[in-house]
C-alpha cells in the first residue's frame, strides 16, 4: 500500500526549508519529489536595481555556507564586463581565501551529514569547532567572520595582514591531522560504512545527463573540475588534481569531499609559499562603470558545491540582467533520480551527500 508523506519544509534534516513529497511503501521509498522556493528572495531581480558594488552582500547570502565563493564569482563577472586585469598578488590571495572557504564549507557539510545519518551532533560540534578556526583566519584577512565582502574589482579590499601566512600554515597543519582523524573515525565505523556504501548510486552517464557538478559529479567518476578545465587565476600554475571516485554512491561523495579537503590544504600551502609580493588592493568603488567594455560577461567558478555560473548583461551604472546557475539547484534535482526504490533512511543519507544549501537553490 502506498502512502504519500510530506517531509519538510520544517524537518530536522532538510537543511533549511526544503520540502520533499515522498511516496513510500512500508520502508521503501518509491519516489521523492523535491519542492523548492521557500527561501526565494529574487536576488537576480534585486541586483538589477543596485549599483555594481552594492550587490555582493546579496550574493554572499546565496550560499551562506561558503559566502566567499559567491562574492568572488560575482566580482569576477563584473571584472569580465569591465575588462579589468586582476592584480597578480590578488589572484594568489583569492586562491588562498577561496580554498580556505572550501575547507570550511566541506567541514560544515561533514558535520551536518553525520547528523543526517543519525549521529547525535558529535561530529557536527567537532567540525564546527574546526571550521571556526578557519573563520577566524578569514576574519583576520577580511574583517568579518561570515559575510566577508572582501572582493573588489581588480583585487581585494585589503591585502593579507602581516603574519597571515604563518598562522595559516599552523591552522593547516592542525586541520590536516583533524581530517585524517575524521576519516579514520568514520571509515572504521561499520555502521557508517554500511549506511553509505552502495547507497544512492548515481552512475556516470546519468550524472552527466542530469548536469550535476562538483563533488557529486566527481564521485561518479567524471574528472571535471572548473579549476582544472577552465583554470582561472593561478590554478593552472599550481599542482592541482581533481579528486574523483568511480563508485558514485554516498560513500564516494563523502570520500571525494574528504580528499578535496586534503587537496585544498595542499593548494593553500603551495599558494602561500609561491605568492609574490606586491599590491593586491582593488579599484575604488566610485570608479566602477562597466558597460563601456563588454556588454555581456560570463564567469564560471568551482564553488564548494559545484560549478557556479553567472551571466551578466551590463549597463553603465547597474546590471541590466544577471542570471545565476547555482550548483545546488541542479544537484538537488538529481535527488528524484537517485532516491528511487531506496530505504526511508537512505533518502536523508543521499540528501546529505548532495550537500544542499537552500539559499543557493532558491536564489
Amino acid at each position: 500500500m502506498n502512502t504519500r508523506i510530506n517531509i519538510g519544509p520544517v524537518h530536522p534534516s532538510t537543511h533549511g526549508v526544503l520540502r520533499l513529497v515522498a511516496d513510500i511503501d512500508g520502508d521503501t521509498v518509491l519516489n521523492v519529489e523535491p519542492h523548492i522556493g521557500f527561501l526565494h528572495r529574487g536576488v537576480e531581480k534585486l541586483v538589477e536595481n543596485r549599483m555594481y558594488m552594492q550587490s555582493p552582500t546579496y550574493m554572499e547570502k546565496l550560499d551562506y555556507a561558503a559566502p566567499m565563493s559567491y562574492d568572488e564569482l560575482y566580482v569576477a563577472t563584473v571584472e569580465k564586463a569591465m575588462g579589468v586585469e586582476i592584480k597578480e598578488r590578488a589572484q594568489w590571495v583569492r586562491v588562498v581565501l577561496l580554498e580556505l572557504q572550501r575547507i570550511a564549507s566541506h567541514l560544515l557539510w561533514l558535520g551536518t551529514t553525520a547528523n543526517d545519518l543519525g549521529q547525535f551532533f558529535t561530529l557536527f560540534m567537532w567540525t564546527m569547532k574546526d571550521r571556526d578556526i578557519i573563520l577566524r583566519l578569514l576574519e583576520r584577512a577580511s574583517g568579518a567572520r561570515m559575510f566577508y565582502m572582501n572582493m573588489r574589482i581588480g583585487g581585494l579590499v585589503q591585502d593579507l595582514p602581516p603574519g597571515f601566512g604563518e598562522s595559516a600554515q599552523e591552522v593547516l597543519d592542525y586541520l590536516e591531522k583533524r581530517v585524517k582523524k575524521y576519516e579514520a573515525y568514520l571509515e572504521r565505523n561499520p555502521v557508517f560504512v554500511g549506511r553509505t556504501r552502495g547507497v544512492g548510486i548515481l552512475n556516470r552517464e546519468d550524472a552527466i545527463s542530469l548536469g550535476v557538478t562538483g563533488p557529486v559529479l566527481r564521485a561518479s567518476g567524471v574528472d571535471y573540475d572548473t579549476r582544472k578545465y577552465n583554470a582561472y587565476y593561478v590554478y593552472g600554475k599550481l599542482s592541482f588534481r581533481p579528486q574523483t571516485r568511480s563508485e558514485g554512491d554516498v560513500f564516494a561523495r563523502y570520500k571525494v569531499r574528504m580528499l578535496e579537503m586534503g587537496e585544498s590544504i595542499r593548494l593553500v600551502r603551495e599558494a602561500l609559499d609561491r605568492m609574490p609580493d606586491g599590491d593586491a588592493v582593488g579599484m575604488p568603488v566610485r570608479l566602477i562603470t562597466p558597460g563601456a567594455k563588454n556588454r555581456e560577461a560570463r564567469a564560471s567558478r568551482e564553488t564548494p558545491r559545484g560549478e557556479g555560473i553567472m551571466y551578466m548583461i551590463a549597463d553603465p551604472q547597474k546590471p541590466y540582467r544577471l542570471a545565476i546557475r547555482s550548483p545546488t539547484f541542479v544537484n538537488l534535482a538529481a535527488l528524484q533520480h537517485i532516491a528511487k526504490d531506496c530505504r526511508m533512511a537512505d533518502v536523508f543519507a543521499i540528501l546529505g551527500s548532495l550537500d544542499i544549501v537552500m539559499g543557493d537553490a532558491d536564489k
Binding site: D27, L117, Q119, T122, V191, M344
Partner: protein, 337 residues
C-alpha cells in the same frame, strides 16, 4: 504466603489495620510503589543531568552551567517549562489510546523496577520467577509504542510504530536466549539467586558473548543509538513522539531515563554481580555499577551513527541469533554439562 511478606520494607500501617489483611497488603504495596517512584524520579533527574554533561564533554561543549551549581537545576527549569505548556492531542488521533499509552508505559516501567531488587534487603519481590516476568513485560513495551504510534494519526509516527515491531522481531529472540542461558547457569529465574551465584565470578567473564548480545539488545530496547530508529530525529522528526504535547514529552523523557535505569540494573544484575562487592554496602555497589553502565550507554550514544532498520533485522537474525545459540551451547557444554 501474604504478598506483603515479600516486601522487605515493612509497611507503615495505622494501628487499626493488621499487616496480614488485604487492606494492609495493598497499603504496603502502595507504599513500596511510592518509594520506588521517588527513587526513579531521582534517578531520572540525575541521569538527565549526567547525560547532558557527558554528551557536552565529548562534543567539546560545556553543557548546562547557568542554573544552579554545575547546571544541576537546568532540568528543573526545563520540567517547569514543559509543564507550563498547553496540552493538546492531534485532531485525527485516537484520543483515549494516544493519551493512555505514555502513562501506561511509565506505570509499566515503575512496576518493572519494583520487581527488581536493589539489594538483598531492598526488593519488591522474592518470587523465583521475577526474571521471567520482567522479560515478558519488557518485550511488551515496543507493542505499547506501536499502539501509541498508530493512535497519534501521524504518518511519521505510523512508520515509527512499524519500525518498533520490526525491531522487536530482530532483537527479542537473542535477548530471550541469553536470559535463558543465564537462568540455566544459575538454575533459577530469581534475580537474588543470579546475584548470589556470581559472588565468586561475574557472568560477564563466563559468558562474554552473551553479555555483548544482551547489551546490544538492551540498547535496542532502550531506543539508544545506534538503534534509535523508532525516534530517528533526522528521519522521522521524533518518531512515535512527533505529535505529543510538551507535558507528555516530559513524560516521555522520564520514561526514557526510567528505562535506562531499568536496563542498567538488569545488565548489572545479570552480568556484573549485582550488589556483590567488598567493603561498601550492597546498594552502593549496585549504584556504582548502574552508573558505570549508564555512563557507557551515554558514550555509545554520542559516538555511533544510526543503523538502518533492514540492516538491524539482518544483524539480529544473521549475527545475534547464531551467536546467542553459540553462547547457549558453549555455556551448556562447558559450564553446566
Amino acid at each position: 504466603m501474604p504478598i506483603s511478606s515479600l516486601l522487605a520494607i515493612a509497611p507503615l500501617l495505622p494501628a487499626s489495620i493488621s499487616p496480614g489483611s488485604l487492606t494492609g497488603e495493598l497499603i504496603g504495596i502502595a507504599e513500596y510503589a511510592i518509594a520506588i517512584a521517588m527513587v526513579i524520579i531521582v534517578f531520572d533527574y540525575v541521569f538527565g543531568w549526567l547525560e547532558r554533561k557527558v554528551v557536552a564533554k565529548i562534543q567539546k561543549r560545556h553543557g548546562p552551567t547557568y542554573a544552579g551549581k554545575y547546571g544541576l537545576l537546568q532540568n528543573m527549569a526545563d520540567i517547569l517549562k514543559l509543564m507550563s505548556k498547553q496540552h493538546v492531542a492531534p485532531a485525527n488521533s485516537d484520543r483515549p489510546m494516544f493519551l493512555a499509552t505514555l502513562p501506561a508505559m511509565l506505570a509499566l516501567t515503575l512496576f518493572l523496577v519494583m520487581l527488581i531488587p536493589f539489594s538483598p534487603t531492598f526488593s519488591g519481590s522474592s518470587s523465583g520467577f521475577v526474571l521471567l516476568i520482567v522479560l515478558v513485560l519488557v518485550s511488551f513495551m515496543p507493542l505499547v509504542i506501536f499502539m501509541n504510534g498508530f493512535a497519534s494519526g501521524n504518518k511519521f509516527s505510523a512508520i515509527s510504530a512499524e519500525r518498533s515491531v520490526v525491531m522487536l522481531l530482530s532483537y527479542e529472540i537473542p535477548l530471550v536466549l541469553v536470559v535463558a542461558t543465564t537462568a540455566a547457569l544459575t538454575g533459577s529465574y530469581s534475580l537474588n539467586g543470579i546475584v548470589g551465584a556470581q559472588s565468586q565470578l561475574w557472568y560477564v567473564v563466563l559468558m562474554p558473548i552473551g553479555f555483548v548480545i544482551f547489551f546490544i539488545a538492551m540498547l535496542a530496547e532502550l531506543e539508544r543509538p545506534p538503534f534509535d530508529m523508532r525516534e530517528a530525529d533526522s528521519e522521522l522528526i521524533a518518531g512515535w513522539l512527533t505529535d505529543v504535547s510538551p507535558p507528555y514529552y516530559m513524560l516521555a523523557l522520564f520514561l526514557d531515563y526510567s528505562r535506562m535505569l531499568l536496563g542498567s540494573m538488569l545488565i548489572a544484575i545479570l552480568f556484573f554481580g549485582g550488589w556483590n562487592g567488598p567493603v561498601l554496602p550492597p546498594i552502593v555497589w549496585l549504584l556504582i555499577k548502574v552508573f558505570a553502565i549508564a555512563f557507557f550507554i551515554m558514550i555509545v550514544r554520542v559516538t555511533m551513527v544510526r543503523m538502518r532498520i533492514d540492516r538491524l533485522l539482518r544483524f539480529g537474525w544473521l549475527i545475534l541469533l547464531p551467536l546467542a545459540f553459540v553462547n547457549l551451547i558453549v555455556t551448556y557444554v562447558l559450564l553446566i554439562g
